[in-house]
Subunit: 375 residues, 2 copies
């Protein structure tokens, strides 16, 4: 059943989307301000349940919208508000058909917010689902692509009003390669519309209700904090009732070092943490998003499972840009839904897709002791 | 009046287009083979005179087609023949209208040939005119742009069948910037269609009859050689009857050094020549095309005037890629038509547009002694 997202939901959603952003995805804060401004003094955005045929008809045209670029640059190069609609309209013109809804391609980070902004500006509903179930750095890293939806044609809109339409047929890697080159030339961030699809394809390939999930997890952290409960334990319990199922605390300690560099249109780097009162060392490597977490040399969690860093006291998730020397944090991992762990899915966004040599083993199997026994 | 270009014209046209390519533009040889193959055992391409209303109606849609990239890479990354038509069709689809003719954007180098190939494959006529009157390295360096024709929308076709449509409005510099980024991602060379325009705009902004000019200059060199006449003197006389007017021999000597590097999608570098029996030194700097020629430290010719290097014995023009240590050559300059020397034209493709500090002074004024007195 459809539901209405209002401005009051945005702080919780931003918090949850930062958690699902796994360090990257771009801070949702800027996107949140854009959505709040588009909603003005009232009203809301109609959110469609992908599994409800009354919400999403099989033949409805759904056009996802998003921001593309290095998260560090997305924060610095703020949209003036016109580009998301321009990207949508440009793709509609190419297709010769109007979209009946927009949708996130990515529920983590700023791209949880950008389709809400597009929806509010265009007067469209937004499907409560996405194609990453978290944040990923590249456009082919979508369950849409894994399960056969064409990523093209795709459109890019720039802050100067320029538009680019790319059609690489079924080759989403080539689309990523070319659009990344364009985005670099546009200063490192751009607005896009891609993977135009029918309602039947949404149902078949999207991770369902991930905006709801972000809202729920963000609210869970806030409520636990307000009630002086342990936010990590609260998150773990909340996740048990979702497709994501397992939450695992991997490490507690202080940020000892953060190295990041912008290259090839991505932010890459490493974070080193040290235990509070011991010699334990935790290392996290990232390409926009956190990819792998090792504790004392042992791999504890690996992409596509989610690896997030949160403030040890408040449970507030922290993006890679927000990490600073001396911060006291918890590293928290979340298991991904089954459709993101299939052999075809792991080929597109498993460890090897990021140049890692470690085999993907689900986080709950790598950390069996931390899984609570069923109640 | 229209005329028919046949396969028999191609060797002379290739020679003349290499001369007009001023070292760059890409060797027309590959393009010549493509055109010859498209023409097969007979037939020809109808060449339209831009100033004849029976050839080019004011409201006719003309879509120029070309290759884009670093000349060195264009030679190595040969078209499989499908891309030029794909670029044309992609732009027609975007415009919702079929082209009535194609046209070169550049009469020097391989782009003298690519629109002929497109014309032969699509069964279209080709306008005998262009927007550079020579070769230039960047897409905004067009009399079309100087005199107000929009460069957009423009299309790019890749060898894998991918297409890209770029619309930067009237901003041809931004179109160049984005399309260059795309071309780099496509391996350094691509096929494009840009500056779609009406017949009335062709008449107002194009340099007329520049394919005829290339053919005429190429034939002039060959005939002089066959008749054991001095090809440089023959060229000088031939030019007197064209819009280009002045041919100037700047230097005779041997190639002492060639330094070239591919950067930012361009080939940049310098050539040093030494006199045969003296200490004279000639230095030429290029960005794809030759930009400036200094003899013993004195500037003798400067972009947009043409600077070409030819074999001292045969008069055969040599591209920058073809230059080798020890070659015995003549450096020959040609004055450009008046419409390429206006203040607005010099702003777009004069010395300052290439980062040079020297003021543009026409080659015939820099070298008054070499201009023959009127007969």
């Amino acid at each position: 059943m459809s539901w209405t997202l209002t401005a009051a939901d945005l702080p919780d959603l931003a918090r949850g989307a930062t958690l699902l952003g796994t360090g990257g995805g771009g801070d949702p804060y800027i996107g949140r301000l854009l959505v709040a401004s588009a909603l003005g003094n009232g009203g809301g955005i109609t959110m469609l349940d992908p599994d409800d045929p009354d919400d999403v008809a099989d033949d409805a045209l759904v056009i996802p919208t998003a921001m593309m670029g290095a998260p560090t640059i997305m924060l610095e190069k703020i949209s003036h508000g016109r580009e998301p609609i321009l990207a949508l309209r440009t793709l509609e013109d190419r297709l010769g058909e109007k979209a009946q809804a927009t949708m996130p391609i990515e529920c983590g980070g700023i791209n949880s917010m950008m389709p809400l902004f597009t929806a509010a500006m265009a007067g469209l509903p937004c499907v409560d689902a996405d194609g990453m179930g978290r944040a990923f750095p590249e456009l082919q890293m979508e369950t849409f692509y894994v399960y056969g939806v064409s990523s093209c044609p795709m459109s890019i809109a720039a802050s100067d009003g320029s538009t680019i339409v790319i059609d690489t047929g079924m080759d989403a890697h080539q689309m990523e390669w070319i659009s990344r080159g364009v985005t670099i030339r546009l200063g490192g961030a751009s607005h896009i519309a891609d993977y135009p699809m029918r309602g039947s394809e949404v149902k078949r390939t999207a991770i369902p209700r991930t905006i709801s999930l972000g809202l729920r997890l963000g609210r869970c952290i806030r409520v636990a904090r307000e009630q002086h409960r342990n936010p990590f334990e609260a998150l773990r319990q909340e996740l048990r009732e979702t497709l994501y199922t397992y939450g695992v605390e991997l490490f507690r300690g202080k940020v000892a070092d953060v190295a990041r560099r912008t290259e090839g249109g991505f932010v890459r780097g490493d974070v080193t943490l040290r235990g509070f009162d011991n010699d334990d060392v935790c290392e996290i490597s990232f390409q926009n998003e956190n990819l792998i977490c090792r504790v004392n040399g042992t791999t504890r969690a690996l992409v596509p499972d989610l690896i997030s860093v949160l403030d040890v006291d408040t449970g507030e998730p922290i993006t890679t840009e927000g990490l600073k020397f001396g911060q006291r944090v918890v590293v928290f991992a979340i298991s991904t839904p089954a459709s993101m762990r299939s052999p075809q899915a792991l080929e597109i966004f498993g460890p090897q897709a990021f140049g890692l040599t470690e085999e993907f083993i689900p986080v709950e199997q790598r950390n069996p002791d931390t899984i609570p026994s069923p109640a």
